[in-house]
Symmetry: none
Subunit: 122 residues, 10 copies
């Protein structure tokens, strides 16, 4: 089941602000209605406060959804909430994009805070 | 015939706002003038209030137009109205795009409320 | 010859505003200087008032230009005027794009009213 | 030699404004330094006043540069001046784009008046 | 190990401002968690003050990360800090983009100062 | 060696303003550190004052860098300075883009004056 | 239900052989296991004997599968059999290509007779 | 109506064989079932005997189908027969490709003689 | 007028065979029926015997067609004949590809000798 | 000037055959007619006998053509001859592709020996 305790952090570099993006192409969970697997891409973007999420722990955290029956919207919100609690980031955004099911493909965006200027110029 | 009673909801995640997009590539209904089938793509975008539409119920709702004689404009408006009544969303947009008929292809947009900032940055 | 009496309407859906686009890829008329056929694409976009143009009637209206000797500019203006008179639309735009003649290809835009916000977000 | 007397006009349609674009892919003139042929694309865009330029006459006008020794900049300025004098357009722009010579390819823009709003939405 | 002493400068050209971009496609360092190699692209953009970084020295500086165990975020911040200290640039931006690890690919942006107008028009 | 005396001008067309772009795909000079050849694209954009640069003379001027040992930044600044002195242009921009060296590819922008409105609409 | 009696023919042109291809992008039937709609493309290719299939009747024949519960393989074989019986063609091929269901997309080919030489050179 | 008397020829160049291809993108005729216009591309390829078809006469011949009610297959066969009779070509092929009607797009190939070796190497 | 005396040769390199391709993108001549200019690409491919055609002389030879009224087929055959007479090549092919006229675009191939093995492996 | 003494070799690996390709994107020499620089890509492919060409020496050899006045055909033949003499390769091919001059771009192929089977499968 989704397990935020898998996530670990390390101190953010001290000086000027960073904008960080991690894109996970291989997310999978289970549809709570049909029990069939869902597949999607998860994009995490944030401006760190005092800490950054460690990448291998992020991967293991994503893997912990593998056998969880959970809606797309709940996946997106859960990741946003877990990482916001972990990181106390100055800005954070989670985008999930899902392969088609029954001829329908979906995209969900959850965020907190203002988009930083540096990102727009990236 | 189109049947909004097929639609079911589940509670939206409690915390910060989400922006949700569902794209259905396999919509079909019937032309009320000629009786011939029409084919199109339906895109639903919304910022939920207290509830989200369940995806399988959305699929069955779309299927309920299969043998209905109905204009493109009425399809678009009907879906917008049914989902607006169901969801009490903070913003909702329906876009239908139709394969050519008689050498003419069409696109219809219906919406309610302001486009959210999060969407523009997606 | 161009015949606006071919156009028929049906009542627009009652609730919130729509933005409608019809693209006709197979327009043909005749050059009034040389008698040779011209070929182009006609795009009609509008925000309806009380009525929408019926699609099959729109096709037949376009077909009525088939053997008419008429300039590109007059085709564009004529369609804009005929549909504006028919629909009393809140916004209406006609774009014609023409295949090359003598090594020159052309595009003409005629419109009335302000571009709606919904369209820009489409 | 370039001959503006080849250009003819017809009355612009009376009602709302139009934006017109003609793209000529087959412009050729002669380099005044080397005598070698130059090749380019000429794009004319304008919002007509009382008259429109007739397309076949525009083609013959372009052909009249075929054996003229003339700089790119002078071609561009000459076309702008001839058509501005002919049309008294509310806005007019001429863009010439030239195939490479000596490993250098060029683009020249000449215009008069403000870009119309309709064009930006085209 | 990363060695900023490898970096050398030469005087910037005296007259009007420049905007400079160097893109290094072959950056490699080592993951401090797993010991596996990481691969990425590093983009450096800056408006020089009195000096420019010499390109071969920049290459050798990038090579000095080859066997260093270091997080993506620290690489990005370290390069920004080393070059900011070296150049006293009026604006400086470092973007690192990393090939996938465990199904996750990443991008980090660090900068200092305002994006110059000249860059936006580039 | 770079030789601005190769550049010649001709009078700019008298009437409304022009925006001019010349793109040279075949620039080559020599690295002053290694003696190896460098290859790049040079783009010159300007709004002329009283004179325009003649294209063949521009080509020969570019060729005069062929065996010169010179940094990218100095090439860019030198071309900007030579052409600014020659043309007294109302706006002038030089962009150099260089093929990779040691896995690093570079782009340098030098300019003088404000970007003209006509260019943005090109 | 599928109804071959909808198909009509007209005499083939008398002289040399023809190769004919009709591609229908909007085929839909119903999955006999789940009751959900299936969507696909049907391609018919043949070398006529004495008769050709009339295009509008072919469209209506395809439409007659709309609410039929039938496997992909049976659709393909049925169309091949119905048209082979109708046309007595010298060669006939039916290819069906189906949108994904449960992450699986399918293609089925049924044919009769030898591929004609003319087709290979088309 | 289709009028082969519009076609004229000129003597083929005397020496070695040629392979000739003419592609007409603007063919239009009328559906004999519905009276609606059809649109397509006609490709003519041949190896001439003693004569070549003159291009303007070919254009006028294609135009003569504009208001003719005729099946795709008959168009293709008719053009092949008319040109074969006119040219006594050593090889001749006609390919027609038609825009979709009722969701069906079509392609027809008619030919006479062996594909020449030169064509395959083109 | 077309002038083969403009063509000059130089001795082919002595040792093993070469395959040579020259592509001229800027060919222009005049239609002998209408007097309007034609534009096309000419591709020359050959395996030299004792001599090669000099490139600048080839350019001037192509330019000599600029104001000649001549059919596409005759252009192609003429170039093949002039170059075959000049070069005594072991294989030679001329392909002309013409921009559309009256909605028809054309391609002509003339050749002499067998396609060399080296070309197929190029 | 071209200097084959710059080329050095190293022993080829002893066992099974290799197929080797080196592509140099930055070749430049000088036109012997006009004195202007030429630019092209040189591709070397070979199956080694006892030795392979060392890559840095190959680069310096290519650089030695930088200020040489030499025809395209002679460049191609010279490189083939120099490398054939150096390597005693079982198969060797040189392809040069040249940027346009006077609207003509060129490609030359020189080879020795049979194309190896391994290459065809590459």
């Amino acid at each position: 089941m989704p397990d935020a305790s898998l996530l670990t952090v390390f101190p953010a570099p001290p000086s000027a602000p960073l904008v960080i993006e991690h894109v996970h192409e291989e997310f999978t969970s289970v549809c709570p209605m049909t029990g069939h697997p869902d597949f999607g891409r998860v994009t995490l973007r944030y401006v760190p406060g005092a800490t950054c999420v460690e990448l291998k722990s992020l991967k293991l955290y994503f893997h912990s959804f593998r056998n969880e029956g959970i809606f797309y919207e709940a996946v997106t919100s859960r990741i946003r909430d877990d990482l916001a609690a972990l990181l106390a980031a100055r800005w954070l955004q989670v985008v999930t994009e899902w392969r088609g099911r029954g001829g329908i493909r979906s995209r969900i965006i959850a965020s907190a805070g203002e988009v930083p200027t540096e990102w727009r110029c990236g």
